[in-house]
Amino acid sequence: MNKDYNYPSFFELEEVLSEMTKKKFVVDFAQKRGIFMTRAKQFEIAKELANLFFEDSDIEEIRNEAYQKNSNHTMAGFLLKSTERDFSLPSLYEKIRREGFSKEGQILNQLIEKKDENNNAVFEGRMEYEKNKIGRMEFLQKEKSSFDFYFKQNDANTWQVEVDCIKSTDSKELKKLLQNNTNRGTDFESIDQDQLTTEQAIEFFDELASKGLNNDWEFKDVKQLTFKKGNDTPDEEEEEEKEVGENHLSGIRQAILQGIHLRENPFVVQSVESGYKFTSMTYEFGNKNEPLVIQIKAEFKGRPKIFETSVVFFSKTIGAYAIEEEKTLSSHEDKTFRSLFWNNAKKIYDQLTKENN
């Protein structure tokens, strides 16, 4: 996607700074530049800042902050296992780009090669596509979407694809594109709830509490839990959803903290017997070394139910009075947490489904 170099108007700057970013960001943004507004509300600081002329990096800083705060990113992924020897997913992608095998309305950007923390190659790409939706005036109007994705090689035939989703259709769009351009023998593996038995699904969420993040983080709390009923319906809307109340959540929280398996929790047992399946859980983790807290949502979503992760909340406790302050993670930090959680979930999933084969 071409970068937009539009210089925002005074009103656009004022609106974004007063309505679409947190006050802390606006205060910090001004302070870093040597401007201190005392006794000022956020909209007053926004108005003052909007009077200044900024360079590109300042505009991007504001835009990124507003974008992160206002869009809900989830991480979804799948594995691509080819029968071809020395299969290269980046080469296939470039071929699709070059020879125009993508669908109308799809734009595939050039891949960028980077290195991860283990010095392995990661290929970063971006895809734009169009989807029809009901318009206000027209019957159908095209809605443009775009998302980032990452290719990483696991072995000679296996590539891992991670999709930074803004819409739930994003990862399906990429998966379909690749499926249409690979041979029949190619396997596409996701974390698919249908491949887990009811007990395995409970075990899956149970294990995520202790293994979802790395050893720097420890489980603190369950903030949200959802069960859904209606396995046979093709329509997600028709499923009956049960949001678990605080009284049962505290029991589940205690069970996890004490290392008791969730499958032994009376409420979980009762729900399963009534035909409900675990579909999502929001975990709160505390960092062991720094005063940081993160809440991550793990959810099976869509039809078929594919696993997604998202960061719901992040905070840092600061100052002599230990005040907890919510922070907006950078897009890179946010993506790193979602990716780590998703990859650990895949390991748990692989272990559980191995038993089924």
Binding site: K3, Y5, N6, Y7, S9, F10, F11, E14, V27, D28, Q31, K32, R33, G34, I35, F36, M37, T38, R39, A40, K41, E44, E48, N51, L52, F53, F54, E55, D56, S57, D58, I59, G319
Partner: protein
Amino acid sequence: MAEDQGVNGNMWNAEASVLFKKVGWNKIADANIDIQGFDNSINGIDTLMKYENPTSSSIEQGVFLEAKRYKTSSFQKQYLQKWILNLDEKIRKLKNSETFIDQYPEMGVTDARNGLLLIWFADIENYKPKYFQSLLDTIELPNYRGINSPNRIFVMDNQQILRISSIIDSVNSWQTDHPEFRFRFYYPSFEKNLNPIERKNILTLEYLYSKFIFAEAADKNNLEKKIVFYFGELNIHSFKRLKNALYKNSFIDKEKSLTLFTYKRDDENFRKIKPDIERLFEDIEFKMKAMIKHADLPPWLKNF
């Protein structure tokens, strides 16, 4: 002594007001004055200044200027927090004080909510801009309760002081080379103010903290030249963004030449992208020049 008080401190105080007089500000009061606040407290102020605001014809901006001169070795980070809060408190007590307004009626008719803390680190060989920058991040403003009457406290250290000196010298140099042209800073219309476009030899606090400044020069035949002073990064993304801003403010005009002054230096990389930047502006008569850059206070400030 930690702060360079006495002769050096007073001199810096005087130099500070000379600096701002050169960008169109007027001095209202002599240095080192004690004034009674609305609560009868006595408040020491270095200098009172004001300037006409070209974007708002109704009111001038009043500024409480505090000049500090320090050596980096004796500066402690808690001073910055203290100075900012003290200056804010002084403004709060004085701007609505009857004694103050009686004593300085010129300030009484301004929007007197601006504090300017001007810190000069005299041992420039030890001064590190990144260190001071990191201190700005650590300042914590208290949660104020009660009457909401915001003040604006601006902090400048060596970097900004030298930048202002650079603007002054670059303008003077350009003017010397173009004696038939009359140079002025250009203030576009702001939709919210519905103010007409203005051209003045004044630099507002907003412009002093901006990454680019518009200017214009005209001769007696009304031949106009457009000038922009740019303080941002020298990469192609930044210039594309800048071009869009110039375009929206009618600074891309086939009949008016545009001179773009750049402040930052990155000679090696800049040489590589200079042809691309020139291509961005190929539809008009376009020139790029480097601003005069100072490593220390210029002679005209030291020897005024």
